[in-house]
């Protein structure tokens, strides 16, 4: 009787282990790739603490490693958050960028750059509040329209994106064109080029808090994939749990995008791939999509930093991967 399930759990374990191994491999690869030449020998020496060139040590610990870690975190964070959104909204298109959370976070960050201060901490808070505000708007619009379907979320996302754009332009208008404007523009493109150990250290606690929250509430997330009425009769206070989970995932998104800027489609594509590989949608799938997202992100970033003499904004690459996939989803109307 239990054979079938054992089979599944073995299969999913195997998939996770393989994916994890690929991720480690990709991570090592990304540590080895970059403008500053670091050989495997160099890296092992640096890790052992026996490297004699201080600059190599600095590059490794202050730039290369933090960047690779941030890339992994961004992939995991955005994909897992996307997966959580999709489960909670019972909607396969509800990823942080499509429903407007990312652009809300963007506006929040821009606001704090121009009106408060450009330090990373205040940008994290700005981005978090902005993302949260955008999210509550989307929920509000969907509630108000009383039509809880895919289209409403997409439309609400378009509205939020439009509003965000408007606010962003206003903020840009009031910004100092030479300094702050550059920071904002840079933001809207998304890049890992300026990640340093310091920034990573500031955002890491927020990222971990959000992740731990998601992890602790993994069963709630699963149960919230059915209609509100059913959830209620299963003994969960729907609103409270939903907001708590959304709070955590928005925190994760904000902590990522406040240092990397907008990265499109990473919240959307990996969860779909994860579901179609595992043929399940439980917490396992959410974790799996996080791993896939990290791999996708590392590969995109490796391309972004090597394909041209100067760096390419990461969203260019993720969009080229993500947009066709989205079109494919829309055309095939696959069972999700």
């Amino acid at each position: 009787m239990n054979n079938a399930r054992k089979h599944y759990s073995m299969k999913s374990n195997r998939t996770n282990v393989i994916t994890f191994a690929v991720l480690i491999f990709a991570f090592v690869l990304s540590i080895g790739v970059g403008k500053y030449s670091l050989s495997i020998e160099d890296i092992t020496k640096v890790l052992k603490g026996t490297h004699e060139n201080q600059m190599t040590i600095n590059v490794f610990y202050m730039l290369r490693l933090p960047r690779s870690i941030m890339v992994v975190l961004a992939g995991i964070g955005l994909s897992m958050a996307g997966s959580v959104y999709q489960t909670l909204f019972k909607n396969p298109l509800a990823s942080p960028d499509i429903i407007g959370v990312t652009s809300g976070a963007n506006v929040g960050a821009a606001f704090s750059i121009v009106f408060i201060s450009g330090n990373v901490l205040s940008v994290v808070f700005g981005a978090f509040l902005g993302g949260l505000l955008a999210l509550s708007f989307v929920i509000g619009i969907v509630k108000f329209s009383r039509t809880d379907n895919v289209l409403t979320y997409v439309l609400a996302g378009i509205v939020i994106n439009a509003i965000s754009n408007g606010i962003l332009m206003t903020i840009k208008y009031f910004s100092d064109p030479l300094n702050e404007m550059g920071a904002i523009e840079y933001w809207t493109m998304g890049s890992f080029g300026s990640i340093t150990g310091e920034k990573l250290k500031i955002i890491l606690p927020f990222f971990i808090i959000g992740m731990v929250g998601i992890f602790l509430m993994r069963w709630k997330i699963h149960v919230l994939s059915v209609s509100d009425e059913e959830v209620k009769t299963l003994g969960i206070s729907v609103e409270q749990s939903r907001y708590l989970i959304l709070l955590c995932s928005t925190l994760v998104v904000a902590s990522v995008v406040c240092v990397t800027g907008l990265i499109s489609f990473v919240g959307l594509v990996p969860p779909h791939i994860a579901r179609s590989i595992l043929k399940r949608n439980d917490f396992n799938t959410i974790v799996f999509s996080g791993l896939l997202g990290a791999i996708l992100m590392i590969l995109s970033d490796c391309i972004a930093r090597t394909i041209l003499p100067s760096e390419l904004p990461i969203s260019i690459i993720t969009s080229f991967i993500g947009a066709p996939y989205l079109a494919f989803l829309v055309c095939t109307k696959k069972k999700i």
Binding site: M217, K220, H222, V226, E230, K232, L234, I236, R275, N281
Partner: protein, 254 residues
Amino acid sequence: MRINGISGGYSDGFFISDISFNIEEGKIYALLGLNGSGKTTIIKMICGLIKLKSGNITIGEKDLFTLKEKERAKLISYVPQSGTIVYYTTVVDVVLMGATPYLNMFQTPAQEHREQALECLEILGISELADRNYLDLSEGQKQIVVIARALMQKGTYMLMDEPESSLDLINKNKLMKKIREIIINMNKSCVISMHNPEYALNYCDRILLLKDKKITEIDLKTEDINMVEKKLSEIYGQVKILEYNQKYMLYYSD
């Protein structure tokens, strides 16, 4: 369970008031009424999905709505017209959702819950579906899975809102039979709202007849079949009940 003069309704104006009846253990109640008569409203009020405007519901000495959602979920389970699962989910995982009232905020079902879920499936005779994807099942199987989930909640009272409505004839009968089996065997009680009085006559112990927002209760064990016929005719028009092989059939006499 005593339902004492409850009132409530939707914000768009539909309102039902002063409904009272009792639900006894080990009995199946059929909630009959025409479309829009308020069957679903009553079910949802009892489940706490629509707020009561007045009246109360008590189980023993306890007022149901002073309890927390979680505690209520341990007493009452709800079976909707159809489950609302949109993603690939295994049947076991659907059933496991029924363990939620017994978990705290950050807990996830453990192995013991898994075993209970498998037991529930076994009781309903669908163990072989355990690892199938819920979305791939037939409507009838899906409904049984949702009932398994309700069973998992271990509540005494099960409220079902037209559970057979989307099924074909064979599956309707199968489902009703199954429901009857578990309610009687496990000494639970059940209120099923439905359209077809035939199923009420064949599978239920009592009928709650909803007409003009008032409940008339009929005990099928004690009531004379002619009286039942007369009462049913009041809402469905001139109907006759035929008895054949200890089964009842309904036809329109005019």
